[in-house]
């Protein structure tokens, strides 16, 4: 693995150390010896081919999944060794934008966004109301506040979910594909929003995405995952100048190169001509 020196990594909010993970015993190994540091107060982008395990990584950080080996520390706590109560306490300090949005289908958009505030803050309802409206305004959905999630388009639902994820201004926000399904305008708005949250409140963000061009403009640090590991990392400027063929392939979206585009499988010829399914 290429080692790119960067002093920003000294103050890390999330430290991942030698992580090994498979979804179940004997299943396809997702990570082998993964190590990463997520700098505090910065935007860290995580990129990698589809199915490589980016969503899995976010779930590991939130301790919804447990690794077979290795550790993940968030603000100095090993998230996988906390008891339930401490883990739930710690999770109040982070939030996650799910790839599917995961809005509560039995509540309006407004109540979805008010939900974490009502659960975890002692704020009076008037202040919650102001915060919810501001967050909705930030994602351009103030007019949609009385709709039910089922009445939103896919892109709108993700923006509503984004508003919910940032409602409490947590220390760490995990964004799983925040740009997917957005038109160029809302994409620009979301990019700006992530940047602003980071600049004005000093939040730490981890952005998982395929939209290389967008994320390279806001990320302070980038990790590229492939082959169960980090295959390249550095600031966007460092990566753009990199002559590593892997990084080059990924940044320029070439199908042929060291990063396999296909999920591990037998050769196509064998599969088409062979008879292991017949």
């Amino acid at each position: 693995m290429r080692q790119v020196e960067n002093s920003a990594l000294d103050d890390a909010l999330v430290v991942i150390d030698n992580l090994h993970f498979a979804h179940s015993f004997g299943a396809h190994q997702v990570y082998r010896n993964l190590s990463m540091r997520v700098p505090r107060g910065k935007i860290t982008a995580v990129m990698g081919p589809s199915g490589i395990g980016k969503t899995t990584l976010l779930r590991l950080i939130g301790a919804q999944l447990y690794p077979q080996q290795g550790s993940i520390e968030f603000a100095g706590h090993n998230v996988h060794q906390l008891n339930r109560r401490d883990l739930y306490e710690l999770r109040k300090r982070m939030s996650m934008l799910f790839q599917s949005g995961a809005l509560f289908t039995d509540m309006t958009v407004y109540d979805n966004i008010a939900f974490p505030l009502r659960e975890h803050s002692q704020l009076p309802e008037e202040i919650i109301d102001t915060i919810v409206k501001m967050k909705l305004e930030a994602v351009g959905l103030r007019g949609a506040r009385d709709l039910m999630p089922a009445e939103l388009s896919g892109g709108m639902a993700r923006r509503a979910a984004l508003a919910r994820a940032i409602a409490l201004d947590p220390e760490l926000i995990l964004y799983d594909e925040p740009f997917a399904g957005q038109d160029p305008i809302s994409m620009g708005v979301i990019v700006k929003l992530i940047k602003e949250l980071n600049a004005s409140l000093g939040l730490t963000s981890i952005v998982v995405t395929h939209d290389i061009a967008e994320v390279m403009t806001i990320a302070d640090y980038v990790y590229i995952l492939a082959d169960k590991q980090v295959v390249g990392h550095g600031t966007p400027a460092q990566l753009k100048q990199s002559d590593d063929p892997l990084i080059h392939q990924f940044l320029h979206g070439e199908a042929d190169g060291p990063v396999p585009f296909h999920y591990a499988a037998a050769s196509l010829e064998d599969d088409l001509l062979g008879s292991d399914h017949a």
Binding site: R91, F104, T105
Partner: protein, 258 residues
């Protein structure tokens, strides 16, 4: 042969693991610091969707079953000249057996399946995961109010069922077939005991409520989060809960009246 033994072993282990997981889920959902301010509205909301919305099917079934009891009871009793005993016969059958059992079976089909499907879908759409990630325990937030709602509403539904059923028996026996009105009620009153009949019926339905709601919630919570997984879990709720109710009914009846 060895394979069969191994498979049997695996099924047994899975069953034990499943029961353990179900117990664990229930413990975590029910024991913990209650937060009245937040749980009360959640409980009321669930009492409505689990209890109140089951009322119609309970009332209609209760009425029909009571009417059938009146009719069948009359034709049997009249041969012995004992049609005066129609009142207690209808009331005892309902309070001791049919009220709790049929209510539980209807409840499993109406509310249990709905609970399983709802929770399974919440799982499939990652709503449960997102609660977890927000630091809100889904067991406390989602499972617990539904459990209590089922537990409290089923005995009430069973009593409603019995009451409506007795009225159905009265309609057929007294109004239609001409059993003496006063005798119907007074013989019933002197033969139905508060503790032995009514209380035992309520205890039965509390046990059924516990088991049916628990099964429904557990099946939803543990289901494979896909459309097939949810539909299997829903079917499994109805089948498992119904069998459990019938089996437990025998045990309880043996203990109470045996």
């Amino acid at each position: 042969m060895l394979n069969r033994v191994a498979a049997l072993g695996k099924v047994t282990l899975d069953a034990i693991a499943g029961a353990g997981a179900a117990l664990f889920m229930l413990m975590r959902a029910l024991f913990g610091k209650p937060q009245l301010r937040k749980s009360w509205p959640l409980l009321m909301q669930q009492m409505y969707s689990v209890g109140v919305l089951s009322l119609l099917i309970i009332v209609v079934s209760g009425l029909f079953i009571g009417m059938v009891l009146g009719l069948q009871g009359y034709t049997i009793l009249v041969d012995f000249g004992a049609e005066q005993s129609l009142g207690p016969m209808v009331a005892l059958s309902l309070l001791r057996e049919l009220g709790p059992v049929v209510t539980a079976l209807l409840f499993a089909g109406r509310a249990g399946s709905a609970l399983t499907a709802e929770i399974g879908l919440m799982k499939a759409t990652e709503q449960l995961s997102s609660l977890e990630m927000m630091g809100v325990d889904p067991l406390r937030r989602v499972i617990s109010p539904r459990f209590w709602a089922g537990f409290y509403s089923m005995p009430i539904l069973a009593l409603v069922f019995s009451a409506v059923g007795i009225y159905g028996g009265y309609l057929v026996g007294v109004r239609w077939l001409g059993v003496d009105d006063g005798a119907f009620w007074s013989v019933m009153q002197s033969n139905v005991e508060w503790g032995q009949d009514i209380l035992n019926g309520v205890i039965k339905s509390l046990v059924f409520a516990f088991v049916v709601t628990w099964i429904a919630l557990h099946k939803g919570y543990q289901c494979t989060p896909t459309s097939v997984g949810i539909s299997r879990a829903t079917t499994s709720t109805v089948v498992t809960a119904s069998l459990a109710v019938l089996g437990l009914d025998f045990v309880l009846t043996a203990l109470m009246f045996g």
